[in-house]
Amino acid sequence: MRSVTALFFGPVRELVGAGSLTLEVNPPFTGDAAFEALAARFPPLRAWRGSLRLAVNREYVPFERVLDAGDEISFLPPVSGG
């Protein structure tokens, strides 16, 4: 298990009902594994999976990315600034 900090924004934040959570990620410690940990607690999030982007330490990365303990991660819904 690796502990990461997950931040939530936009509609994902409304769904989760919090700005951040500590997530315990199972092997293989990927973004996908982190998403599984989160979706287990918030099942409606699964419907969002196809449109989310993963940021690790404030950079977009693929969901295959392996996370280190202490990483700041976020599953970002489609941006709509401008």
Partner: protein, 129 residues
């Protein structure tokens, strides 16, 4: 200069930062809150951001622009918080020796902001009456 800010955006201030003696053309794009979106009436929009990541990405966009065009200055500013119809949400600007470069750089900046910068809007209907 790039920023995510809760304060109203002052275009005159942006302009003062963007021109130099070597600048021949400045292009400024201003995004404002429109009273309709996809057929629905809009009264206000709340913008939220993943602020440090948004500013990191804006800095990267600025540096991509500087690699690609001979610009003198680039500005990318996005406001967050609750904005009413008519208020300015975003400004991108580029000053360059010639106008083609200024237009291209400014357009690139706003397109990249809209595609990638982690900012979200939530629309609210006008208050009746």
């Amino acid at each position: 200069m790039v920023a995510v800010t809760e304060d109203p955006i002052d275009v005159a201030l942006v302009l003062r930062g963007i021109g130099t003696a070597r600048t021949g053309g400045i292009d400024i794009f201003i995004g404002t809150v429109r009273d309709t979106n996809e057929g629905k009436s809009v009264g206000s929009i709340e913008y939220t951001a993943y602020v440090p990541m948004a500013e990191d990405l804006m800095r990267r966009i600025e540096s991509e622009i500087r690699d690609r065009w001979p610009v003198e200055n680039v500005t990318i500013v996005h406001r967050i918080g609750l904005l009413r119809v008519g208020e300015i949400s975003v400004v991108t600007a580029a000053g360059a020796p010639h106008r083609a470069e200024a237009f291209e750089a400014c357009r690139y900046a706003i397109e990249r902001v809209k595609a990638d910068v982690p900012i979200w809007k939530k629309e609210f209907a006008p208050v009746p009456g």
